[in-house]
Symmetry: C2
Subunit: 328 residues, 2 copies
């Protein structure tokens, strides 16, 4: 099996897993699992497996699917909390079937992923369970921070570490562990994926500010309303350089948060400028965020030098570049 | 370790598991996990383990805790969907912290249970994952049936099998499997617990009709509003005797469902009689429900005859009696 045929097998498995004896759950989960998406996390599982010399793709396909299911379950639940109406270019489960069935669809997907993982070793289950826990904690931190208007750089960094980077790291670790990678290779891949995840999320938060809903295939401006995009826009220099530079400007954050609550989906940046926020400062902040993402992506790529050269390794390196250059 | 000290260890573990690096999640999950409750499912895990001659209670305690966490997570999510305000004598997480944090608290508990189970064998994980899946499917079926007013006896039976009996069966199977029980003993315990679960749920649904909120420690009348209590009140003879007898009366079900939506928490039976529902017929239906529960409990007890006599077995037998005689 190649990476591409394995990814196809992941897609097939995701669709077959949507099938429930309860017709409604089959419908809702096929709606969201069948909508595609970037499939970045399954790709990471498969590529990491190949990069450490693994060739048991049949065994790795369910792991890749489980990671994608957990990710998608959290999206379904996030869309309830965020009142999102569009996801992966489709109506959200919440918008189409209502909050109650969206909640149960997310639960269904969590339990499906758990069942899919049950045949695997304790080691692999621990990796995924820990990441799933991080996801929930990260989402909680984010919503709490947004409500209290208390987001600062360190907290932003903690949130995106838990909410995004953690599952990226788990994805490569699952692929590598299933390929019996050495501890060194596993650690290198984890560091690669963790940095990649941070770069991915910062880019996501910048796109949330500058792109529009149609382009993203999900509601733009929502993450800013949640207080996440704000931190990167105002204060891009979080990450490894904790402590240097000033914290984000509380008053500006509060103003942005208040504004964004009333903002219709669309490029938020324009609304902010219309509302009198300094456009040049915003542009500079966005550039800073883009720069930080590029720096983290570059740091991710360097980690791959610890691995032997391979086509999979080249693809992982290319991913780091794509993740920060994307426009949706 | 005795059963009682093991149960105390389960409670301690539940509290230590409430601890999250995110303070809010520690608060919410300690609120509900620390509220006590009957701890019936952990007790089933421990007693089944003892009944098959197992004595490794230290190993079984986390299994018992995981079952209780999964159960409690579904309660937290159910309380969002049902707008319940009282649970285990305390304010619900939903009522105190709002729907968003209640959703995340349920998710947190699901992932905590998964992490707790990760060190155990694939066999044990498969048992719990399958039951968790059943729980979600059962809850979905119930809400869908209530909304469409299409609950009949077979569907009621399917719902309580998935929503309640399935986790009871998983509980004893986990305890028995961890005690290396023979397939015969495991099957006997499963059948015991499955019937016990049905008896428990039918009793719950009857209590939902006749008891009040204070007595139950959770909102009375809610399950009727969800359409579940209706079936047992109008048509107690579901279960093994599928096909005999008539289905429930659709018009009466619809009238009850419409009524119950506007009913304040309190003994629903009185409101129904006030509203002109025939009190004698209702009493007869309630008696029929009680009778069916007693019959299922007796059937559960008989299954235990396949096991060697023991104090644990006696306790399991006593449970079957308590479950249908309780008033809360």
């Amino acid at each position: 099996m190649t990476i591409d045929t394995s990814l196809q097998a992941v897609n097939d498995l995701l669709l077959s897993i949507s099938k429930s004896s309860v017709a409604l759950l089959s419908e809702t989960s096929a709606h969201i699992l069948g909508a595609g998406g970037k499939r970045l996390r399954p790709r990471l599982v498969l590529l990491a497996h190949a990069a450490v010399g693994g060739d048991d793709f049949e065994r790795v396909v369910p792991l890749a699917a489980a990671v994608e299911i957990i990710h998608t379950a959290t999206l379904v639940h996030d869309d309830i909390n965020d009142h999102g109406t569009l996801r992966r270019g489709r109506e959200t489960v919440n918008s189409r079937w209502g909050g109650t069935f969206a909640l149960l669809t997310g639960d269904y997907m969590f339990t499906r992923a758990y069942l899919l993982m049950a045949p695997f070793s304790s080691e692999l289950n621990t990796i995924l369970a820990q990441a799933a826990l991080d996801l929930v904690e990260g989402e909680t931190l984010q919503i709490k921070a947004a409500r209290q208007g208390e987001l600062d750089r360190d907290l932003y960094y903690e949130i995106i570490s838990k909410k995004t980077a953690s599952l990226f790291a788990a994805a490569v670790e699952l692929g590598a562990a299933a390929g019996n990678a050495s501890p060194e290779w596993r650690a290198a891949l984890r560091e690669y994926a963790f940095n990649l995840g941070l770069a991915f999320q910062i880019t996501d938060d910048v796109l949330d500010l500058v792109a529009d809903t149609h382009q993203l295939g999900k509601n733009a401006g929502i993450d800013v309303a949640q207080g996440r995009g704000i931190a990167v826009a105002l204060d891009g220099n979080h990450g490894s350089d904790h402590g240097s530079g000033s914290g984000s400007d509380g008053a500006a954050v509060a103003a942005l948060a208040a504004l964004s609550q009333d903002t219709a989906p669309g490029p938020l940046k324009e609304s902010l400028i219309d509302a009198g926020i300094n456009g040049d400062a915003l542009d500079a902040a966005i550039q800073k965020g883009r720069g930080k993402a590029a720096e983290l992506a570059a740091r991710a790529a360097v980690c791959l030098d610890a691995l032997p050269p391979s086509a999979a390794c080249d693809e992982l390196r290319a991913l780091a570049d794509q993740v920060v250059r994307r426009d949706h």
